[in-house]
């Protein structure tokens, strides 16, 4: 069956980096999708997946820096990356807006990730031809 038209994907990541393989598998998939001429409509981080948007990760130098790898991929291909606000606030991932709103001592959201609600996921599902989920393996 030939793929004649390019498809659009919403990718949902619910597993955290360094706790699961989800960010790695999702990046492998995303890179292959772009290489095949498809479009990634958006990447949505949900549950523990929001940790991928942290600006404060400092993994050992001989390990892949997953937040950085994802930030670079999103920026290079102008793909929106969204961390779910409910998941992010609970887990301590905040941007400057939320830092001010909740009078927190710092913000730590890595560009180009934004924070938004589940409506972004709903919209992605409606607009994209495919929605895939990358969960933790446990």
């Amino acid at each position: 069956m030939a793929e004649t038209a390019s498809e659009s994907f919403t990718l949902v990541i619910t597993g955290a980096p360094y706790s699961s393989q989800a960010p790695q598998t999702a990046l492998g998939f995303a890179q292959a999708a772009v290489n095949a001429g498809h479009r990634i409509d958006r990447v949505f981080l949900y549950g523990d997946g929001v940790h991928l948007a942290s600006a404060l990760c400092a993994p050992p130098s001989d390990e892949t820096h997953w937040p950085e790898a994802w930030s670079q991929f999103l920026a290079e291909h102008s793909i929106p990356g969204v961390a779910c606000i409910a998941s992010a606030l609970r887990r301590g991932l905040v941007n400057e807006t939320e830092q001010k709103r909740y009078e927190l001592p710092a913000s730590n959201l890595r560009a180009p990730f934004e924070i938004a609600g589940l409506g972004e996921w709903v919209e992605g599902r409606i607009k994209s031809t495919r929605t895939l989920y990358f969960h933790a393996g446990d």
């Binding site: 069956m1 793929e3 498809e7 994907f9 393989q21 598998t25 492998g28 998939f29 890179q31 292959a32 999708a33 290489n35 095949a36 498809h38 031809t129 495919r130 929605t131 895939l132 989920y133 990358f134 969960h135 393996g137 446990d138």
Partner: protein, 93 residues
């Protein structure tokens, strides 16, 4: 390849309850793609009876299972994308 009704993507190892649930749902019109810990299914005798079972090469290699790839079709990320596009539905277990 004939039409794929559902692509089931399974990353749970065989001991995980959701792996059992997934395997109960796969039918001949579907494809099963094993990724992550899901590739460990190849090391057991419990492959489902359907003809289209795939496993992600990188995850097979990571777990030292490349020698079992002959029982299924080993695929890369490009083919994972292709399968997800061909299927009418994708369920990520």
């Amino acid at each position: 390849m004939t039409a794929i009704q559902t692509l089931h993507i399974l990353n749970k190892s065989p001991d995980h309850p959701r792996a059992t649930r997934c395997l109960e749902m796969v039918a001949e019109e579907d494809c099963l793609l094993l990724i992550g810990g899901g590739v460990l299914l190849l090391a057991t005798d419990n492959l489902p009876g359907i003809s289209r079972v795939f496993a992600l090469t990188q995850d097979l290699d990571a777990r030292g299972l490349a020698n079992l790839a002959g029982n299924v079709s080993a695929v890369d990320y490009a083919e994972m994308v292709s399968l997800s596009v061909q299927a009418q539905r994708v369920i990520s277990w």
